[in-house]
């Protein structure tokens, strides 16, 4: 059975070939950094998309799991010299566990209550990171995080970093893609649309939402692990509520429930503020504006769930994968 995913291959080709080639030909260290940041943001947006777009849980806690994975990795690699696979697995597992524990009571909450509770989590996390100086080195930030290591081999230079990040991000996005474009995703959408009705159809919305929440936490934690190495430096300022807003903006701009949208959204929220940089520190202003304008003028985002689903489904139907 050959599953046609031309879009997926296209995306992989752009990320693994076209962008590195362009960076190599015309790029600078600065451009390479931005490219890495776009990829990491895309993974965050894809994970948040799973939660908001598919499971219908409007959440503002991106920074909690993102920051958790980042600090976990910083601590592991600085103190224990861990290598990449260990770190990714540790971030994924610990993120899922933390998400599962926190999500258990949280995902029962009705929409607005859930949103506020996640906002609270973000603030609790920031306060903790800022003040638990023994663990996180507090407001001074965590400096000198070593580079990625694979076995004995230390990865340095932008190309190595870029490829590590690209591969992990593509893997994470592939997971979200599988979850959302499958019957499992349909079950989550049903739980999102009408919980009681979904139960009458034999589904357990709580279990589905909890799984979505834990997966999103796990992926964000992995994104954090990447960020810790890519940036070499973590500061509590990277994990304030506003940064959750940034990911939310990427999701909204790209389109709720759409994965190509996650990349497009990440591109917009990372690059547009960079373009505004000459005008002063307008980053937050920039993405606030983007969020506002896109809600007003692009209520379905640049690439909405419906169009992306229709796209994939057209192909699946054509290949007879869903019929048979």
């Amino acid at each position: 059975m050959n599953r046609p995913l031309p879009l997926g291959w296209l995306l992989a080709a752009v990320i693994l070939v076209v962008v590195p080639a362009a960076l190599w030909l015309f790029g600078s260290a600065y451009a390479a950094r931005l490219a890495q940041l776009v990829l990491i943001t895309a993974l965050l947006a894809a994970a948040l998309n799973l939660l908001i777009g598919t499971a219908g849980l409007l959440s503002l806690d991106t920074v909690v799991y993102y920051g958790f994975g980042a600090y976990l990795t910083a601590i592991l690699s600085t103190n224990y010299g861990t290598t990449l696979p260990t770190e990714i697995l540790a971030a994924a597992a610990a993120g899922a566990l933390l998400g599962g524990l926190i999500g258990w009571p949280l995902v029962r909450l009705a929409s607005i209550f859930f949103a506020v509770a996640t906002m609270g989590l973000a603030t609790i996390f920031h306060t903790t990171v800022l003040n638990w100086v023994d663990l996180t080195r507090g407001p001074m930030g965590y400096r000198g995080i070593p580079a990625f290591k694979l076995g004995e081999f230390t990865i340095d230079g932008w190309a190595g970093n870029y490829y590590v990040i690209a591969v992990v991000v593509l893997g994470g996005v592939w997971i979200v893609h599988r979850l959302t474009h499958s019957y499992y995703g349909n079950a989550m959408r049903a739980a999102r649309e009408d919980e009681d009705c979904a139960r009458a159809m034999g589904l357990s919305p709580h279990a589905l939402k909890l799984q979505a929440y834990a997966v999103h936490a796990s992926l964000m934690s992995v994104a954090g692990a990447l960020y810790a190495h890519a940036n070499n430096f973590l500061s509590p300022d990277n994990f304030v509520l506003l940064e959750s807003g940034l990911t939310l903006t990427a999701v909204v701009v790209g389109g709720l429930g759409s994965l190509p949208g996650a990349f497009i959204g990440a591109l917009v929220v990372v690059l547009v503020p960079e373009l505004l940089r000459p005008l002063g520190n307008l980053r937050a202003f920039g993405f606030g504006m983007i969020l506002f304008l896109s809600i007003l003028f692009l209520p379905r985002g640049l690439w909405s769930e419906v169009s992306s689903l229709a796209f994939v489904r057209r192909h699946l139907f054509r290949e007879g994968w869903l019929k048979r």
Binding site: L179, R189, M201
Partner: protein
């Protein structure tokens, strides 16, 4: 004939209001039973108690010989009871195909691992796809598979709800006023369809206000009034029943 569903002195109170008051009746395997009564008689409440949406205040429910009183809705559904809702409850923002697949998913189940690694669950996936397509075709919805459910006409949404319930491949189907809001032709088609389902061996409990339809399709009719059971018998028998006439006349005047 053996009973598939047994309702034994079922009561459900709301703040002192006895919406359902010691109601007992059974539904035999393969039977199409009508549950009728004036507005507010307690029909939907009986449905909600069976389906687990509401917990009964008193009384017992047995399905297939086992007690199901107070079970959670998803557990009841997994045992093989599917329902439709009086007020339309389609999932408006997903497609018709996806709506129907939800019923099939409820039957076959899905898992996280299976979603990630499709080869683990190829059989399941195929089953879901099969029952979804079957249900879509049976209700003439295959042509609309890719439409968002919210964009269907009212009559199509009603059919979609039944299709979704059937994709659960239930042993017992609970239909709450499927003909409400349909025009004459649609009601006629629905009557034929419901009768076909029954002839194919499905057990159905039907709540409906359209009397001609109920009288025509049902094998047996149970009548509620103000939460109490006032008649239980063949259509002709119920039609002639004095208590039933009184209940309906009292309601209409």
């Amino acid at each position: 004939m053996s009973s598939l569903l047994e309702i034994d002195r079922l009561s459900r109170h709301f703040h002192g209001l006895r919406a359902v008051d010691e109601v007992s009746f059974g539904v035999n395997r393969g039977e199409l039973v009508g549950l009728i009564g004036p507005n507010g008689a307690g029909k939907t409440t009986v449905f909600n108690c069976i389906a687990g949406t509401l917990a009964p205040t008193l009384g017992e429910l047995r399905f297939d010989g086992a007690r199901i009183t107070g079970f959670a809705p998803e557990r009841v559904a997994a045992l093989g009871i599917a329902r439709t809702f009086q007020n339309l409850r389609v999932f408006p923002d997903i497609t018709v195909y996806d709506n129907v697949s939800v019923g099939a998913i409820g039957r076959a189940g899905v898992s996280f691992a299976g979603a990630l690694l499709p080869f683990l669950e190829r059989g399941r996936t195929r089953r879901i796809a099969d029952s979804t397509s079957t249900a879509l075709e049976r209700f003439g919805l295959a042509a609309h598979a890719g439409t968002l459910a919210g964009n269907l006409s009212y009559g199509q949404k009603k059919l979609l709800e039944i299709a979704r319930a059937l994709a659960l491949e239930p042993k017992l189907l609970l239909l709450d006023e499927p003909a409400a809001g349909l025009n004459g032709n649609e009601t006629e088609a629905l009557a034929v369809l419901v009768r076909d389902l029954r002839d194919a061996g499905l057990t159905i409990l039907l709540v409906e206000h359209d009397m001609p339809m109920v009288m025509r399709v049902c094998d047996r009719i149970v009548v509620l009034d103000s939460g109490r059971l006032i008649a239980d018998g063949a259509p002709a028998q119920v039609r002639a029943d004095a208590a039933v006439r009184a209940a309906y006349l009292g309601d209409d005047s």
